[in-house]
Every structure is written in structure tokens, then in C-alpha cells.
């Protein structure tokens, strides 16, 4: 193993090792002081950032397409292998660098922002686990390993949405987000299985040359389903504003920077499939454009700073999806890097957005111009309809509730009734489960802040 390979292994595994160490200490009953955790986080991310330099040098100086580290198979059963391959190529390296730098900045910011907040240790634990999941997903040499990182990102994301655990709304919103993530993951799991069956491998290295156009279309659609779930694209967009219940640093790193772009990364990795299927590419463009339009319209009526930023993120990620669908991969990568950086800054400044605005307004002598409103060109009736549509966030949650969650809960209720047939003392059941799945916590009266 040469220096660049060793550095890649360090970058990918260091946050996981820190998470494991801190979790073990906590389990045996010792919680490290806040300052120690913050310092460990600083050192780890600084070292990871430095370690990216030899990876970059290894990639540029050797002239190879990728720095690759092949471990033994994770497990092998007959002909089926789960390869453990880490890879840094010209696509994954920018994502690795973005993750390390932005997660490090968030760690530094949070040390002050969450100082003496109950649960600060839990926040740092989850930050390390999330970074580990992201780095594994971005450095994976195959879709198999990408799934592992992808799911870790999902569960940490959900646990951080429920960070303020004493309030019901974040907890119920976390459950809603988790449900959508898991639904999207079905597409990824089935897609990876189909890739094994049809292409004989899920490794990125070969480019899947034996796939037919129809197979590529089906795979593209499955991966798009997974990507749309993770990136909150239409029709799954309703979860993103709910995810803003988490602490601001986690909103910044998840929904401004890394997690929200994981779906785009998946599609970039699936580019050999999309290039072979016009239908799949068109679907990606359609979903992206629909999300961009949805995001920009809904964002205009959003009354809170983080909600507005979430819709702005949606709009940009929608545009990125469209770029990927059209095959403009380099443009998409540059767009992702720029968007992630700017949005992280905006999210971190969100708690003082009004203060910033007033300062800026004062500096300009109170003459800050209002943003241009394209909708003013529309007839008033249409404006009103659009306003209502945007206020209900495009009715996406309502549609999802009515056509997916409600029927499922109804079915479950019927099954419960069937099960109760032979019971003498029926237990109280399914009284409010439906309410929780349909996100009543987000729409209902909010409990007071503690």
C-alpha cells in the first residue's frame, strides 16, 4: 500500500474510528468532557484534510484514473462476493474533500454553537458517524459499499432531526423522514441486485458494458427513485422542510451540503447507465425540472429562514439533477461544490439572518431593493392559486398521505381487526399511529419550546 492509498484509507475510516472509540467510552460509563470531544474532532478533520493532499497527488501524478485500495472481500458466498474497494477518482475526490472540509467546519462551529447544550456529546457522535457514512459512500468502489454508507447517512440524519428529543414535533418529523428514506432505499437495494444479475457486477470500474438499453432504463429508474428520496426531489420533497427541526449545524451539513447532494452523486455514478438510456435520462431531467419549479414557488411563501433555505436548496439540487440528466457532468460537479459551500454558510448564518439583513440595509442607507417577482406578470387569479398551492407545499404531503400512507394504515387496521377475532380482551391498538405517520406533529399545534 503506497502513501496515497494509505491516506485514502485514513480519510475514509478515521471518523468511524473516532465514533467507535467515543461510543465505547460512553457505553462503559465515561463521557469525555465537551472540550476534549471538540479537540478530537478538530484534530481528526484537520488530519483528514491534510491526508487528502497525498490522495490528490497520487491521482494527478500517477496518471491513473483512480487511487484504488482493494481489501479482501467483506464476505463471500459461492459466486457472490461483497468487495471492499475504496476508490478516489476525479468524481469522488471533490466529494471527499467537500465532506472533510465542511464537516470539519461544522465541527468547529458546533463546539461554540452547541456549547453546554444537553446532548452535545450525542451530536458529535452522530456527526462522526454521518461523516464516516458519507465518506464510505463517496469512496466506495462499488454500488454494494455505497449502499452501506448511504444507509448510515440516512439513520444519522434521522437521529439528528430528532435531536431536540423533548419536543414531539421533531421526533414525529424524524419518523416521517425515516419512512421516506427507507422507501427510497428499496429502489437502491433492488437496483443493486438487478445490476448484479444483469451486469454481473456492481463495481464502478468496468462501466457495465454488457447492459442492454432496456435494462439500463429499468436500473436508471430504480436508482432515480432512491436518489429522489435522498435528495428530496418531487414527489418526496415534503420531508425537507420537516428536517429543519434539527439543530442548525446539522441542517447545514445534511441539507445544505452533503446529504442533499448524495442523490446527485448516485446519479453521477450511474452515468454509464443513463448514457445508455434516453428514457432514464429524460426521467432524471423531468424530476429535476419539476423539483426546481416546485422549490422556487414554495420557497417564496416560506416564512422561516431555514425553511426558505431548504426550498432554495431543493431548487438548486433540482437544477443539478437536470444537468446530470442532460449529461453535463462536470457542470453538475462544479454546481454541487459551489452550492454546498454557499448553502452551508447561509444555513450557519440563518439564526442571525434578520440581524444580517438589518446591518446590510443600514449600510446601504435603507435602500435594499426588493427581489424581483416573476409571478407578478401572471393574472391575479393565477397568482392566488399559485399562492395557495405553494402554501400547502404543492400538496405533495397530502398526496403522499392520501395515496400511500393512509391506504397502508387502513390495511394495517383491517389486519388488526382480523387478528382481534380470537381475542377475549382486545388491547388498545392503532389509535394514533396513522397520525404520526402522516406527520401530524408537523401540522398540528406545536408544543412549547423547552
Amino acid at each position: 500500500m503506497n502513501v496515497s492509498q494509505a491516506a485514502l484509507v485514513f480519510v475514509a475510516l478515521a471518523p468511524g474510528a473516532v465514533f467507535g472509540l467515543l461510543a465505547l467510552l460512553w457505553l462503559v460509563g465515561w463521557v469525555p468532557p465537551e472540550r476534549a470531544v471538540a479537540r478530537i474532532t478538530d484534530w481528526m478533520f484537520s488530519a483528514s484534510a491534510v491526508a487528502l493532499i497525498p490522495v490528490w497527488l497520487g491521482l494527478t501524478s500517477s496518471g491513473t484514473a483512480a487511487v484504488t485500495v482493494e481489501f479482501a472481500n467483506w464476505f463471500t458466498v459461492h459466486d457472490y462476493r461483497f468487495p471492499l474497494v475504496l476508490m478516489a477518482d476525479r468524481l469522488s475526490l471533490p466529494f471527499l474533500a467537500m465532506t472533510v472540509v465542511l464537516a470539519g467546519l461544522i465541527g468547529r462551529f458546533s463546539a461554540t454553537y452547541l456549547h453546554r447544550e444537553p446532548g452535545v456529546f450525542r451530536f458529535f457522535l452522530l456527526l462522526h458517524l454521518f461523516t464516516f457514512g458519507s465518506l464510505v459512500a463517496f469512496a466506495a468502489g462499488s454500488f454494494d459499499l455505497l449502499v452501506a454508507g448511504w444507509e448510515i447517512v440516512g439513520i444519522t440524519s434521522v437521529l439528528l432531526i430528532a435531536f431536540f428529543q423533548h419536543r414531539a414535533a421533531p421526533v414525529e418529523n424524524a419518523l416521517r423522514v425515516f419512512g421516506i428514506y427507507r422507501a427510497g432505499d428499496i429502489g437502491l437495494v433492488v437496483g443493486v441486485f438487478a445490476l448484479h444479475q444483469w451486469a454481473g457486477t456492481a463495481s464502478f470500474a468496468g462501466g457495465f458494458p454488457h447492459l442492454t438499453a432496456s435494462h439500463a432504463s429499468m436500473l436508471g429508474a430504480l436508482l432515480l427513485f432512491a436518489a429522489a428520496g435522498k435528495a428530496a426531489q418531487v414527489p418526496f420533497s415534503g420531508w425537507l422542510p420537516r428536517a429543519m427541526e434539527g439543530p442548525t449545524p446539522s441542517s447545514a451539513i445534511f441539507y445544505g451540503a452533503i446529504s442533499i447532494h448524495a442523490g446527485a452523486y448516485l446519479l453521477l455514478r450511474a452515468q454509464p447507465l443513463l448514457a445508455r438510456s434516453g428514457i432514464a435520462s429524460a426521467l432524471v431531467v423531468a424530476v429535476g425540472v419539476a423539483t426546481a419549479i416546485y422549490g422556487t414557488i414554495s420557497g417564496r411563501v416560506s416564512a422561516d429562514a431555514k425553511g426558505s433555505l431548504a426550498f432554495a436548496s431543493l431548487t438548486q439540487v433540482g437544477v443539478i439533477f437536470a444537468e446530470i440528466g442532460m449529461g453535463w457532468n462536470r457542470v453538475a460537479v462544479v454546481h454541487i461544490l459551489g452550492h454546498a459551500t454557499v448553502r452551508t454558510l447561509q444555513f450557519l448564518r440563518a439564526p442571525s439572518a434578520l440581524h444580517d439583513y438589518h446591518r446590510m440595509d443600514s449600510a446601504e442607507g435603507g435602500t435594499t431593493p426588493a427581489a424581483g417577482r416573476l409571478e407578478e406578470w401572471l393574472p391575479e387569479r393565477w397568482q392566488l392559486w399559485l399562492y395557495r398551492w405553494a402554501l400547502d407545499r404543492g400538496h405533495l404531503d397530502t398526496i403522499l398521505d392520501r395515496f400511500a400512507i393512509h391506504p397502508l394504515m387502513l390495511l394495517s387496521g383491517w389486519f388488526a381487526a382480523l387478528d382481534r377475532l380470537g381475542m377475549h380482551r382486545p388491547p388498545r391498538e392503532h389509535d394514533d399511529a396513522e397520525a404520526s405517520m402522516s406527520g401530524a406533529g408537523a401540522h398540528g399545534p406545536r408544543p412549547e419550546r423547552i
Partner: protein, 472 residues
């Protein structure tokens, strides 16, 4: 006496003797139970050490079950840790190990029935319905009838001998399948499991369910004895298992009783084990065998944590409102989410590997119905998180002054469980490779060689020869 026989006798005899001793002495039940279970673990582990790869499934199951019982003796809250309870648990351990290890059908039947005996007591099975007792009764009756038919047809009572003679009676096959369906709680015979979990003693019921006698019967008897019939008819049972996994997963979505919910999760994931066993692919069978370990360990942990919460918080634990218990019991919350997510395939745990193999194996053999497996698992994941959120997160309980988190003995045993999942997930080869060798044997016996037209008896004999070759 041969070393293997002696160790098996120790693993079975010591728990039984200790059960009698606990009742007679009526003091220090936890210490006696722990020691007896520890001896059973050691004897089974020594047996496993000498067992050849490919023929060690039953011994591995003995180790697993002994470990589960050892854990149960530690996690039992003081309120439940009576002489009667420990004696019952040890009796269950002895009879389950007997069922795993015996080669005689009559002994298997006796162990099958006797393992249910402690649950005749009201405090163990105080279920609100008659269904648990009926489920156990019907499964025992079906197996008894199968054994009777084999005996009436003049067949040998040895499982190894039966493989040589290959009984092809469809009646025996049907009765064995019925025994599996009733014992495992395959739909429509699933409701008894949730009833048993809700009304009975939580930890002993978890031990009863985690014996997985249904899957054991399928792996040890049905697959090797009826390779031809199994190949033709097992897809039907596989569809039934996958249907059960989905049905129960949907049912769990609106369940608010923690015990019933965990029982549904266990049922759904156990049905996945059966679906994997019937997939006729090495990946699927291996995934099923590994998942067997995952389901057993995780549901044992989940039932244990729920019981500990009941003892601390009150018996009226419910998932209908937020209880916010994480503030008082953060470690129990952490253990709960790890066990729960391991059950549904959290990456970095052994559950991820087993479900990966299960999905690949099942979907390879049944591309359309196999889709139900990831869907059911996704729904189960939502149910796990919902229960976690309701029990541990949400509003602060202002009326609750103090509630103990995991006590040291509980903390250590749960940490061992977490270590099993995490280390097993990071380095799964040791577990997967052994299960793969066993799965390969089953799969080879089921698949006729290309271009050959060998009979069922020849194929069954080949299974036996492969087993002998593995031993040698």
C-alpha cells in the same frame, strides 16, 4: 464415552439438573441459572470447536441458544428472577438443546413437546386468548402424526437413517410443513405469537420463540428428507413465508403495544429466514442461517429491554404516546436502537450482511415475490424507529423523579450483544463462511446434477455422502 456425546450430555443434563436444584434449594436462583447456562455454553462451544465446517449448524445453534439463555439469566429483572422462573428457563434450555442435538425422531418429538411444558403455567403464558396454547398444541400434534406415520410405515426413527431410506410420503411432508407453519407462526397461524408475547412472561417467551423450531425442522428434516418434493413444492411455502413477512410488517405499522410490536417484528424477520431457506440458492440459504443468529440475538435483546422498562416505568408501557424515557435511561435507549436496527439490516452490523445475502438469494430464485422482502424489511425498520421514538423520545416526563438506567450486569450483557452485532458486521467472514459451507451442502443436495436423472433416494444419499465427506 465419546467426547462429543459426553459434551452434549453435559450441555443438556446440567441445565436440567440445575432446574431441579433451583426448585429444591429455592435460593440464589440467578447464580445457579447463570452457572448452568455458562456450563452449557462452554460444552457447546467445545463441541463446535471440534465440528467440521458444513456439518456444524445444530451445534452452532446450541451455542447460540445457550448464550441467549445465559444473557436471559443476567437481564432478568430482580422481580422476575424467582426459582420457578429460572428453573423453567433452564428446563427450556435443556429441552431445546436436546431437540437440536438428537438424531432420533421420537426424542425430537419429545423435546419439541416438553419445551412447551413450562408455558402451561399461567404466569408464563397468561395470554388473553387460547391461541398460543392451540398453536403449540397443533404444531406438536402435526409432528407427532408425522412421526407416527413414519413409524407405521416401518421406517427407521433415525434422521440419518431416514435420509438413506428417503420416505417420499406426501402425508409426512404435509404434516411436517404443518408443524413448521404452526410453530413458526406462518400466516394464517401467526396470531398466537403476538398473543403469547403480550400476555406471558416476556423473556421466557422470547426464548421460546428464538428456539426457531420451525426453521430447524425445515433445515434438518424437510430439506434433506424431501429434496425432490421440496424443490417442487417449497416455492409455495416460500411465497407463504414472504407473504407472512409482508403481512406482519404491515400489521406492525399500527401496533402500539411494545411487546406485540416486537413479536410482529420477530415474526416478520423469522419468516424471511424461512424464505431464505427455501430459496434454493446458496446465498439465500446462507443469509437465512446468518439471519437466524441476528433475529435471535436482537429480539432477545429487544424483549429484555422492554421488560426492564416495564419493571422501571410500569406495566402499562405503550407506544401510543411519547414517554421520553431516553432522558432517564439513555443506555437502554442506545441498546434498543442498535438491536432494533441490527434486526432490519443496519450497515456495520451482522444484520446488514445477512439481509444482503437474503435479498440476493430470494430475489434470484423468486424475482417478483422476492421484492416483498426488502419492502417488508423497510416497513419493519419504520416500526422499529416508531417504537424507539415513542418509548424513548418526546416529551419530558415531569412526574417521573428517578428511573435507573441499565444496571452494570444488564449493561455488560447488552454490550456483549452490541459487540456481537458490530464485530460480526465488521468481520462477517467467520460467521458467514461457516454458514455458507452448511448452505452449500443443502443446496447441492437439492439441485440435481446437469444431465443426470438420479432418483430421490440417490439424491438423498448424495446429501449424506457430502455430509460424510465434510466430516472426514
Amino acid at each position: 464415552m465419546e467426547r462429543g456425546v459426553m459434551l452434549t450430555a453435559v450441555a443438556i443434563g446440567v441445565p436440567w439438573a440445575a432446574a431441579l436444584g433451583t426448585v429444591a434449594a429455592n435460593r440464589r436462583p440467578r447464580a445457579i441459572g447463570f452457572t448452568a447456562a455458562f456450563i452449557a455454553v462452554t460444552a457447546s462451544a467445545l463441541l463446535l470447536r471440534g465440528a467440521p465446517a458444513g456439518d456444524s449448524l445444530t451445534i452452532a445453534l446450541m451455542v447460540l441458544y445457550s448464550c441467549l439463555t445465559l444473557g436471559a439469566t443476567l437481564m432478568l429483572p430482580r422481580r422476575d428472577c424467582t426459582s420457578g422462573m429460572i428453573a423453567g428457563i433452564l428446563f427450556l434450555l435443556g429441552s431445546t438443546l436436546l431437540a437440536y442435538s438428537t438424531d432420533d425422531l421420537r426424542v425430537l418429538l419429545a423435546a419439541w413437546i416438553v419445551s412447551s411444558a413450562p408455558f402451561l403455567r399461567e404466569e408464563w403464558f397468561g395470554a388473553p386468548t387460547w391461541r398460543p396454547k392451540l398453536g403449540l398444541l397443533l404444531s406438536g400434534a402435526a409432528l407427532a402424526l408425522a412421526v407416527a406415520v413414519i413409524a407405521a410405515s416401518g421406517g427407521t426413527m433415525s434422521i440419518g437413517g431416514l435420509i438413506h431410506s428417503s420416505p417420499t410420503s406426501m402425508t409426512v411432508f404435509g404434516l411436517l410443513v404443518a408443524a413448521v407453519v404452526f410453530r413458526k407462526g406462518i400466516c394464517p397461524a401467526h396470531a398466537w405469537v403476538a398473543d403469547a408475547a403480550q400476555g406471558g412472561a416476556a423473556i421466557p417467551t422470547a426464548l421460546l420463540l428464538n428456539g426457531h423450531f420451525g426453521a430447524m425442522l425445515a433445515a434438518r428434516l424437510i430439506l434433506p428428507l424431501f429434496p425432490d418434493t421440496a424443490r417442487e413444492l417449497f416455492p409455495l411455502l416460500s411465497y407463504l413465508a414472504l407473504g407472512t413477512a409482508l403481512y406482519v410488517a404491515v400489521r406492525a405499522l399500527t401496533e402500539n403495544s411494545p411487546r406485540r410490536l416486537i413479536a410482529y417484528l420477530a415474526l416478520s424477520q423469522s419468516a424471511c429466514i424461512l424464505a431464505g431457506l427455501e430459496s434454493q440458492t446458496i446465498e439465500g440459504v446462507t443469509g437465512a442461517l446468518v439471519h437466524w443468529f441476528v433475529v435471535s440475538a436482537s429480539t432477545m435483546g429487544l424483549f429484555g429491554i422492554v421488560r426492564l422498562l416495564e419493571v422501571r416505568f410500569g406495566e402499562n408501557l405503550t407506544g401510543s404516546t411519547h414517554l421520553g424515557l431516553a432522558e432517564h435511561a439513555p443506555r437502554l435507549a442506545c441498546f434498543f436502537i442498535v438491536f432494533g436496527l441490527a434486526l432490519v439490516g443496519l450497515p456495520g452490523t451482522l444484520g446488514f450482511c445477512s439481509l444482503d445475502l437474503l435479498v440476493h438469494g430470494t430475489m434470484a430464485s423468486h424475482p417478483l415475490t422476492g421484492l416483498l422482502l426488502p419492502i417488508a424489511t423497510a416497513m419493519n425498520a419504520v416500526s422499529v424507529f416508531r417504537l424507539f421514538a415513542r418509548l424513548f423520545l418526546g416529551r419530558r416526563k415531569t412526574g417521573l423523579i428517578g428511573m435507573a438506567d441499565a444496571l452494570p450486569r444488564e449493561r455488560w450483557i447488552f454490550t456483549v450483544g452490541v459487540a456481537f452485532f458490530v464485530l460480526g458486521g465488521l468481520f462477517p467472514s467467520a460467521i458467514v463462511a461457516r454458514r455458507a459451507a452448511e448452505a452449500e451442502m443443502v443446496e447441492q443436495a437439492l439441485q440435481p446434477p446437469k444431465g443426470s436423472s438420479d432418483t430421490v433416494a440417490e439424491r438423498a444419499l448424495r446429501y449424506h455422502h457430502i455430509a460424510i465427506a465434510q466430516v472426514e
